[in-house]
Amino acid sequence: MSRPAQTPDGPGVKAADPVVLGLDGLDALITKLSESGYEVKGPVSRGGAVVPGSISGVDDLPAGVHDEQSPGGYRLAQGDDGRLFAWAVGPGSWKGEFFPAHQEVWRARASDEAIEFTEAAREAAPLAIVGARPCEFRALEVLDRVLKDGAYRDPRYADRREAAFVAVVECASPASTCFCTSMGTGPGIEGGFDLALTEIDDEGGHRFVVRVGSEDGSEMLDSVPSTKADAGDLEARARVLEGAAANMGRHLQTEGLAGLLARNMDHPRWSDVGERCLSCGNCTLVCPTCFCSDVHDTTDISGESSRARVWSSCFDLDHSYLHGGAVRASCSSRYRQWMTHKLSTWWDQFDTSGCVGCGRCVTWCPVGIDITEEAAFIAASDGATRVSPPSTRGGS
């Protein structure tokens, strides 16, 4: 991906004009991607949730699947409609495809003369995603700043990202935990993608309005049966997005938020959330932008050693272990670290918010801790301080 279309928004240019695909067209697109050498993945309904999985055609997509989400709650329901994308994001984000939970980096074997290093094998085929949501695409761009375009490039992440093709599907059915409108990351998307689809199911039929965002996108659409989108199709798309924005479940007041949190490091709310938080780390692992990892060096019985990069979480005691102990030994200090990083210090480090408003951390927190609610509480009592200064050690 990422070669922009020659004339991304140029009116009257055939390649960049929105087109309409039917289900057969979408199926043909998936086939075309696969025939072009991509490993094609998309949302599938598995184990009670919509998660990333391999797809070989539209039949693999979650037709008629709807979700109900709440803080600490998630349920799928099967409808009799045939809509393929009538759900909001599930627990598995696309982060895992580029930044896997466990990734071997190298192996080494020592002989009498030398230590011989072998780089671990990489995925052979580039990845094509059909059906990433706008917030998820923006989350990948946030990760890019950290792992690809910043000072510490992760070559495995970067290579796989650069080779990937992404067809985004805009959101029609946000969950009660979604707040992408607050973060400017959805429910629609403009730019960056290879293709952007909007699912429409009205009197005009079940179809997808497709916009092209890159040369690769236009190439993949080439032999796919499509028609030119007319004004009615584009209006239908606008209605879908308006409806989605109107149904946004949550809101985060972002104006002044980074500064608000930065000046409220002693707010009593941190102790309160520290009592509720389990330090389980679910929020960080479902978050599409959390990138913390650890390095595991192991040896086997044959004398070979291996280095792997594995997911880690700021909710782990080990995560802040320095000489003599953990710096963030209390749960409140760990939650504060997580939330202030997402919403405040991420700006200082990466010039962007670390949160795209996908709502995963809210839904998949076993005790339903809600980042928007915590932020709103602090905003409403700006400047409150604890009676005694907080300790980063001991208790919560």
Partner: protein, 281 residues
């Protein structure tokens, strides 16, 4: 390096059993494929479940299974410690007292008289306690039983002189790493995973079963918050108490959350039906 008199330079390994079911020792035999290679690197000097042939100590590394439940155990663990350069406990019994530690919380002798026809022939302590309550422990491996990959990892780390890669975080992180959809969130299943130490690879949730905490509390377990949530999702106080009173019943983080629901109810002046009592069944 080796404590034996011959020219064998392999470090020696000994396995000891206290009050336990042998399941954790079996994990060593369970390392079928790696076992042969392992014996090339360590000399298994004392492991009566495997062989009657034993070599006298001291030993370079001792694996200790089981809890301390008799006056004899109290003395024997001191001998084991004195004869071991490194002492690694294996399993929930050794780490927290095991399921037999349930006796710690009832009238002394009441379990023994319920189980044995002639409890007067027994000579036991009133409590079942972890190895660390009696001697210095160099490393604790958790689980009921332990995970054989973790056991191998500790032995390999010992051989290489490095730190074992063994996590102290929650089982939830293993669910996420293997893409198991959370049962608690998606199905309201009572799951102790958020407060349980990782190590099993999130075995139970992967087969749609809530975690019952066999690896004991994680590093930062906040059990009271989890049980409050599970109560909201429909677990009764009795169910929660039973969930917390299994293989790691005496682990302080689990123990401290037992009876909390009922205590709260009593302080509110509510009466509870007998079916909510933890002692039923």
């Amino acid at each position: 390096m080796s404590s034996t008199s011959n020219s064998d330079v392999r470090p020696t390994l000994a396995v000891w059993k206290f009050a336990s079911c042998d399941g954790c020792q079996l994990s060593l035999l369970d390392c079928e494929q790696e076992l042969l290679a392992l014996t090339g690197a360590v000399r298994i000097a004392h492991f009566t479940e495997m062989s009657r042939a034993t070599v006298s100590g001291p030993y370079d590394i001792s694996l200790v299974e089981g809890s301390i439940t008799t006056p004899d155990d109290v003395e024997r663990i001191k001998e084991v410690r004195a004869n071991s350069r490194h002492l690694v406990t294996i399993g929930a019994c050794a780490a927290s007292g095991g399921i037999q530690a349930l006796r710690n919380f009832v009238e002394p002798g009441s379990y023994a008289s319920a189980v044995y026809a002639h409890p007067e022939y027994l000579e036991t302590l009133e409590t079942s306690t972890p190895i660390s309550a009696h001697v210095a422990v160099d490393y604790e491996l958790h689980g009921c039983p332990i995970d054989r990959h973790q056991l191998l990892e500790v032995l390999l780390a010992f051989l290489a002189g490095r730190r074992p890669v063994v996590a102290g975080h929650s089982v939830c992180q293993e669910c996420k790493a293997r893409s198991t959809v959370c049962l608690l969130v998606s199905d309201k299943t009572a799951c102790l995973g958020p407060v349980t130490r990782a190590g099993c690879g999130a075995l139970c949730p992967s087969v749609a079963r809530g975690c019952f905490g066999c690896f004991g509390p994680s590093d930062c377990a906040n059990v009271a918050s989890l049980t409050a949530r599970l109560r909201l999702l429909g677990s009764s106080d009795g169910e929660l108490d039973r969930l917390l009173q299994t293989f790691n019943a005496a682990a302080p983080a689990f123990r401290s959350a037992v009876g909390v629901g009922r205590a709260a109810a009593v302080s509110l002046g509510q009466s509870r039906s007998p079916s909510h009592e933890g002692a039923e069944r």
